[in-house]
Amino acid sequence: MFSSFRSAVRSNILAAGSTWRTCKILTFPFPQKQFSTSAKAAVGPTSMTQKVIAGGALASGLTASFLLYQDSVFAEAMTAAEHGLHPPAYNWSHNGMFDTFDHASIRRGYQVYREVCAACHSLDRVAWRTLVGVSHTNSEVREMAEQFEYDDEPDDQGNPRKRAGKLADYIPGPYANEQAARAANQGAFPPDLSLIVKARHGACDYIFALLTGYPDEPPAGVVLPPGSNYNPYFPGGAIAMGRVLFDDLVEYEDGTPATTSQMAKDVTTFLNWASEPDHDERKQLGLKAIIVLSSLYLISVYVKKFKWAGIKTRKIRFTPPKN
């Protein structure tokens, strides 16, 4: 029996062995009878195992149904209104993978921040120098900084002194501290806007929707706490900041009509830049990284295939001992 099997293998190998660089799966003509015992084993799991599996599936199905039912019986405290209305997805010109900010919009947005938002909101983490070459020229930013007073070193008698702002200074906020900010805003604290775009779900879309989303009247039945305003995008709907943007509130130097939505768009773009000052460079480097890394990857795939070709197509021959 075995010797006939062996000779069958040998003749098969020799037949296939005439072409050297081919990768073939050798099929051995096994006598069917030898494996006749396997027919019984192929029946599979016993009926006991089947029962256990079926029972487990039934139990988990029932548990899931029960939990789903339980969940549907009670109303959640966090309703859609509590979460705030989801903002629409706007078509920002910097949305694309390789799209930079619109720098003209950043420049207008700074003007809106300065003339409107800066009355209540600080911008602690933005230094004057970072505006240079982004939205303003060097001398413009110097001039802007000089209009603010900063603490200087004390004089020889130890008396505190003041000096004009420099490029290296950070943009000063409207209030000395949080208590002063709350006192001026009926107890509500206007958050620092440096990172606000990153700090809110919906990012730009949320800020824009919030600024433009004040209806003239709150919907019927909505009861607002004193000193608050209705805005469906703000979680809970009652926000301490009233509507601040109205048509023609500012006058743009480039002649862009200062509609409410234009100002909201510009200030949001500006705040997005404040949150992500590295945005433009990041996208440019990303392009480079994608090209370089994917080329290196493809080269490494090629080199691997090249180096392995000889090994993968090698055929191992077995020459049985002659006796």
Partner: protein
């Protein structure tokens, strides 16, 4: 099959391109490494300026240098 492999570099009067390439670049480690270094130095700025050109063209009109052109007397400013 059992004869083993033998690499024969025939030198004909007209050397093929690959023979020239092999002899000038790959044959000696010094020239090979030198070529890699030199190619690296050339490749980096070439790729950089090509990608920057594409990127700035792709975002034309939105960049700071476009805004700067619209400002009076800002052209001579150094704002890097």
């Amino acid at each position: 099959m059992s004869k083993g492999r033998k690499i024969v570099l025939t030198l004909t009067p007209h050397q093929s391109f690959y023979t020239t390439l092999y002899n000038t670049v790959f044959k000696r480690n010094s020239t090979f490494v030198g070529t890699i270094f030199f190619a690296g130095f050339l490749f980096q700025p070439a790729l950089d300026s090509a990608l920057t050109a594409w990127f700035e063209n792709h975002n034309k009109g939105k960049l700071w240098k476009d805004v700067k052109l619209t400002l009076n007397g800002a052209a001579e400013e150094d704002d890097e």
